[in-house]
Amino acid sequence: MAKQPLDQFVAKLPAATRTAVYQATKGTHEKRTKMLLDQFADADQLRRLAGEIKQHVVENLDTYLPQVEAKLKANGAQVHWAATGEEACETVRQIMQARGATKMVKAKTMVSEEIELAHYLEKFGIEALETDLGEFIVQIDHDTPSHLVRPIIHKNRREIAQSFEREGLGAYNDDPETITRRARAFLRHKFLAADVGLTGANFVSVESGRLVVVTNEGNSRFSLAAPKCHIALVGIEKLVPRDRDLGLFLNLLVRSATAQQLTVYTEFISGPKAPTQPDGPEEMHVIFVDNRRTEVLASDCRAILRCIRCGACLNVCPVYRQASGHAYRSVYPGPVGSVLSPLLAAEFATKADLPKACSVCGACNEACPVNIPLPDLLLRLRDQGKRAHAALASAGTPPMGGWALMASNPSIWKTALFGGKMIDVVPHKLVPVPAMQAWTEKRTLPKWQGGEFRRWMKNRKKS
């Protein structure tokens, strides 16, 4: 019988990676939870409010997107619309070509990972260098991020030291501070030489057209300050209605993501350099990326578009903790990824297993700062996978048709209850049912007591 790819991945995952991922996620989750409880009278209320605001935005994108476009233009930015990932990549390339630009420094943006921007630009001889330390390490290793906020959660410092040595960034040294200093020295020159700085946006205020970018390393600020052209790649769902909503969202995002009160850097970008300002980009472009988001909007899973990419659902998820990010074969891992990845995939069936990779424990929903009903969405996608006859969706799940027939017919059910005694007699290893094998490999099955309770209940009625 077909096995689940994520489960197979977990079986082979090195214990050291599992331990590293488990400890890092557990640590952040516990710190975050304590912080929210200690610092707010009712953090749950904030989470629900933030969820309602984002849901409102998602359901009114048709109104808000033209408004924010007008505002951005009034602020001096140029606005582009990209229906697909490829269109977004091509827009970036054309902007660069028009300026004769060949060198880009990139701050961390998940949407650029989603559309594989760096690979696209590379084909045209454009260097797109990651400047977030984690993303930089991912890039030099030709690896992929394994967490929304901590792209190298799966790596240890010894591996990183080896990569730096290989790339000629100094002799082997696994002291984190040395590693960081070396990356800083290398990247500094790249910032100064870059033609274009690319960022994402954590939020865009419709009211003011302000882009908000949060980082801890200052690389986004440098990407904005040194190059003459700023390009922001923004998913169409990233809007908040008003500037004053940012207080709520920044408070929740940063605590949820890294258990900090505030990131070290919070940029509010209101446009390109004004004539009176000495520094900053002369040109600013905002590219709004759809890439199947409108299809998600039209589906019964639209609540996933509330997501602010904090990673709190990954950190609390018992499956992510065992599996780490690469097990999800997607840019977006964990609970949010298990919803988003199949929906954003060119073919749903290729990711139809991900919604199954979940015990439906609900911890993600409790942790989500925008209160996305993740378990409900995962369950909806399971039904969708079944209806689409996606082989990956059903791998390992026992067929339910016969069971449903039994469980809706009391006389067959009662017969089965009394007949079930068989499983105590036949050695479990010989039962040709894959689910039985999967259960009993590491667990015993209790003794069959089918019908005992019914008999007891019936007999006491008589007495």
Partner: protein
């Protein structure tokens, strides 16, 4: 989550949904549920046509199959009596999951009607009957596993209230109590490696406090954890809360 709050009538007549797992494997948990409810003055009806709440297929993604079983449950538990379920998971299937899969079905109102009368046992005892202090005696150190499907409901708190009120009982808090045991219905067989690793972590936390008994409000979690521990050759004692409550009453009488 807005929870069903249909209270029992003066005669405290209720319907029992014993759950398929108790029907097949855990007869004593179902017996204890009846005895506990009767001790509280309830009259317990057991509709004999009952089978399952429909969750295995709902959770497994076969909603068409699940709806068939839910429709059978709706028919079997017709009427207006509270339906008591000794399982946070099966109860939440009826007041949450079923509503999701019947969203676009014409018979949604009938499913909602059942949802509005469905109670998890501990929640019913504490919040419908107002019992917060359990009589009798049970000298033991307990560890309590709050089922994941008790999230957003009052069941976890209710179970702890009852358990810690028993004379002689101590409840040792376990680490990472909010983490799942790894059962997850069909997940446990479709993802056996993840499932058993999750269970292993839960067992570590349980064993760390060296309880005499691990208590749950879902026999599914208990079956998974108990089965894992037994296979490891280091069995643990698992009980449903109802069994502990019933035994406390018995112990109280013999003392």
């Amino acid at each position: 989550m807005s929870l069903p709050r249909q209270l029992p009538g003066a005669d405290k007549r209720v319907q029992l949904m014993a759950t398929c797992l108790c029907d097949a494997f855990f007869a004593d948990a179902a017996r204890a549920t009846v005895e506990v409810l009767e001790h509280l003055g309830c009259t317990v009806d057991f509709p004999a046509a009952q089978t399952c709440c429909g969750q295995p297929a709902f959770n497994g993604g076969d909603w068409a199959a699940s709806r068939k079983v839910v429709r059978h449950a709706v028919k079997t538990f017709a009427g207006d009596l509270p339906v008591i379920v000794p399982s946070a998971s099966c109860a939440s299937m009826l007041f949450h999951g079923a509503l999701l899969e019947f969203e676009k079905e014409p018979d949604l109102p009938a499913v909602q009607q059942l949802a509005g009368r469905t109670w998890e046992l501990a929640d019913f005892i504490v919040n419908a009957l107002g019992v917060k202090q359990w009589p009798g005696r049970y000298d033991a150190k307990f560890a309590f596993h709050r089922s994941c499907h008790a999230r957003g409901t009052d069941s976890g708190a209710a179970a702890l209230t009852l358990l810690s009120s028993i004379a002689g009982a101590t409840v040792a808090p376990i680490g990472e109590a909010e983490q799942c045991c790894g059962f997850g219905g069909t997940f446990s067989v479709a993802f056996p490696n993840v499932s058993t690793r999750m269970g292993g972590l839960k067992l570590e936390h349980v064993r760390a406090v060296q309880p005499d008994v691990l208590v749950g409000i879902d026999m599914s979690c208990m079956m998974h954890l108990g089965g894992l521990a037994e296979k490891e050759g280091k069995p643990i004692v698992t009980r449903h809360l109802a069994q502990v409550l019933r035994d406390a009453l018995k112990n109280g009488k013999t003392n």
